[in-house]
């Protein structure tokens, strides 16, 4: 795992000691600061007082459950992005979590790479500038208004879905985007396909934007997902 480009302050609200320690340690290893709260009340108090970039909240907590904690935070005008972790992975549970004020929902068990990618996207969303109309990575340009994509001087023709895939990747340029995130955000499906269906779409996109160019922009991050960025950094 590469070191984070920007340090985040995270609060992990999770009652299982071992999972919490594992998460905190893993976040620290990639260069973030992670605090831990063991129950809902403590978590709420810490989330209100501390300046956190993202809260990682377990759905089922002692003293105050995750959804009620988020509701209380939102009622007080606290807009810190929240990622909900839950053993309840079904569609309706996810909808419930998002409705309660959560920003993202990750069913257990999850891989740390998936969690990290999502947390980074959430923190960026908060601090980032307003939605731009023109994305640029290296010499690749995507105009969201005119739906024009160009690499250097070459105009590229993309299918509508390829355009949306590239748009999502470029919006999160420099960040790891997982397959599940793509499936959820580009296709709006929340199930887990048994096959490598996303990889095929990526390889098609790659053949359009990277083929024949010296510097590849669309990278596969092993064990995690994909990232678009200017090769030299």
């Amino acid at each position: 795992m590469t070191a984070a480009e920007r340090t985040m302050r995270l609060l992990i609200i999770e009652d299982d000691r071992e999972s919490a320690d594992y998460l905190a340690k893993a976040f620290r290893e990639v260069g973030h600061i992670a605090d831990h709260a063991a129950d809902g009340e403590e978590g709420l108090a810490m989330a209100e007082s501390g300046e956190y970039d993202v809260l990682v909240v377990d759905r089922m907590l002692p003293k105050r459950d995750g959804l009620s904690l988020i509701g209380a935070l939102r009622d007080k005008g606290n807009t810190t992005p929240v990622l909900i972790l839950s053993a309840l992975g079904q569609v309706d549970d996810r909808i419930k979590g998002l409705r309660a004020g959560g920003d993202d929902y990750l069913p257990k068990p999850y891989s740390f790479a998936e969690l990290l990618a999502r947390v980074e996207v959430l923190s960026r969303r908060r601090g980032g500038p307003a939605e731009e109309t023109l994305y640029r990575v290296g010499d690749l340009e995507l105009d969201r208004l005119s739906h024009r994509v160009a690499r250097g001087k070459d105009e590229l023709t993309l299918q509508p879905r390829e355009f949306r895939l590239l748009e999502y990747l470029m919006k999160h340029a420099g960040q790891v985007v997982t397959r599940t995130m793509l499936l959820e955000n580009v296709w709006d499906y929340h199930f887990d396909p048994q096959t490598n269906v996303i990889d095929v779409h990526i390889s098609r996109l790659r053949s359009k934007i990277d083929k024949g160019f010296e510097r590849p922009l669309l990278h596969t991050i092993r064990g995690a997902g994909y990232m678009i960025r200017d090769g030299i950094r």
Binding site: G89, Q90, V91, D92, P109, W187, Y189, Q194, V200, H201
Partner: protein
């Protein structure tokens, strides 16, 4: 509770009591009406007779004076079954007639009255009753003409007796019938309760006794039996699932454990450890997927997912899945086509998408035709959304080897994988999920022969009344093709 107490507490018995009361009241009021009318009729008849005779005798008096009157009275009084006659002086002394004694004051009041009396010739001491009319003659003499009421009383007595008797019969028959019906019902209910208790102690195969009369108790028993059938099927399903989970989850878990053990035992280099760990993660990911699929099936089967239903066009789902899988199919040397018409449904979009995705994945994995040289046409998979009456059909057709008819039912069951597919990756849950999703929506998963190939169809009920609202295509404007 005593047997009698139990009997009294039955609904049948209580209803009988209510009916009994109603019938008794009905009989009583009928008889009362009859009695009252009879009495009125007899009174009327007496009144008429007495009136006629009074005016007749008055006429005689007018024509022949007191002497003629007395003579006529004496004569008439001697006739058998005669009326009552009495003529008195202004001082109240009887001068003619057959009345021995009267209730005091009767002669003093003119007009009609009912009175006790005795005839002169009566030997017994009994009082009789009569309806009499007293009129005054010119000179203060009074004339009484009346008629005995024994006839009226006798008739009234008959009616009263009939009333008593009929009420008694109604009560006896009603009570007897009530007890009989209640006991019959009670016996059947007791039999059902007994069976239900036996079922609760564990024997789910037992069924309630159903009679041949087809009455409400039989219908209840039939419905309860149908419920038991369903419970038994669910329990069997649950048992099968737990057995399968035990088998199909333990196998990869064992594999996982063995690999970890092997990696520990062998003193390998870091690369070996890394490879072993990577395979461990891969294996556990597979396990998680299987687990998720199982949960989802359980959820669909239990009907919990019914909450998230929307109105939408199933053709959109077909097109979405086509768009998602088209590149994958092409990479595999297949072509994925889609054919759509408006197919309105009320369903859980997420689940329908997943079910259709499973069918498409199966077609891509197993739908390749045998042999090496095959035409492009034989490598085609078609997704179709079609409306058939009040049903919406979402089908996936491939040109592969298909599934033998005998295996089709079997293959929908959880974890079932046909010999031919065992070497390919997969959990054996895809069709189970698709079937559970169809069932959840009140439809079914149909597997058929595409000659050659397999056609898997999700049959869903179309949204009621939506067919008319789909706007026809406007001919002047070119339709956009996705």
């Amino acid at each position: 509770m005593t047997a009698f107490g139990k009997l009294v507490r039955t609904t049948a018995f209580r209803l009988t009591l209510v009916y009994l009361l109603l019938f008794a009241m009905f009989a009583a009021s009928l008889l009362a009406y009859f009695a009252w009318n009879t009495r009125r009729l007899i009174t009327e008849e007496i009144t008429q007779t007495v009136n006629a005779e009074t005016s007749e005798i008055n006429e005689i008096y007018d024509r022949g004076g007191m002497v003629r009157l007395v003579r006529t009275i004496e004569y008439r009084a001697l006739r058998p079954g005669a009326n009552l006659y009495l003529v008195t002086t202004p001082t109240g002394q009887a001068i003619a007639g057959n009345v021995g004694s009267l209730a005091p004051g009767v002669m003093a009041t003119r007009g009609w009255s009912e009175t006790a009396y005795r005839r002169i010739e009566d030997s017994d001491d009994r009082d009789h009753r009569a309806l009499v009319r007293v009129t005054e003659l010119e000179n203060g003499f009074r004339l009484l003409i009346g008629r005995d009421l024994a006839e009226r009383r006798r008739l009234f007595g008959i009616v009263a007796k009939a009333a008593q008797f009929s009420v008694l019969i109604v009560v006896v028959l009603g009570l007897g019938g009530g007890i009989f019906v209640a006991r019959r019902v009670l016996r059947r209910i007791d039999a059902m309760t007994g069976t239900a208790q036996r079922i609760m102690t564990g024997d789910l195969s037992e069924r309630l006794p159903v009679g041949r009369s087809g009455d409400e108790i039989d219908r209840l028993a039939e419905n309860l039996n149908a419920m038991l059938e369903r419970i038994e099927a669910l329990m069997a399903g649950l048992k099968e699932v737990s057995d399968n989970i035990a088998h199909d989850l333990k196998t990869p878990l064992t594999r996982l454990r063995n690999r970890a053990e092997e990696a520990l035992a062998k003193s390998g280099c870091e690369a070996d450890y890394r490879a072993a760990l990577e395979r461990t993660i891969e294996e556990s990911d597979g396990l998680i997927r299987t687990f998720n699929a199982l949960l989802m099936i359980a959820r669909a089967e239990s009907g919990q997912a019914r909450g998230n239903m929307d109105d939408f066009d199933a053709a959109e789902v077909a097109e979405g899945i086509h768009e998602l899988y088209e590149p994958l199919a092409e990479d595999d040397g297949m072509t994925l086509k889609v054919k759509c018409e408006p197919t309105p449904v009320h369903a859980n979009r997420e689940l329908i998408s997943q079910a259709l995705a499973n069918l498409v994945e199966n077609a891509i994995k197993y739908g390749k035709p045998a042999g090496t040289v095959v035409s492009m046409d034989a490598r085609q998979i078609t997704i179709e959304a079609r409306r058939d009456g009040d049903q919406v059909l979402l089908s996936v057709t491939d040109r592969g080897p298909g599934i033998p008819e005998a295996d089709r039912k079997h293959v929908i069951e959880r974890f079932v994988r046909l010999e031919a597919s065992r070497t390919l990756p997969g959990s054996g849950l895809g069709l189970s999920l698709a079937s559970a999703v169809a069932t959840l929506h009140g439809g079914e998963l149909r597997l058929g022969d595409a000659h050659p190939g397999l056609v898997a169809t999700l049959v869903l009920p179309a949204r009621a009344g939506a067919g008319d609202r789909v706007a026809p295509p406007i001919p002047d404007v070119p339709q956009k093709v996705a």
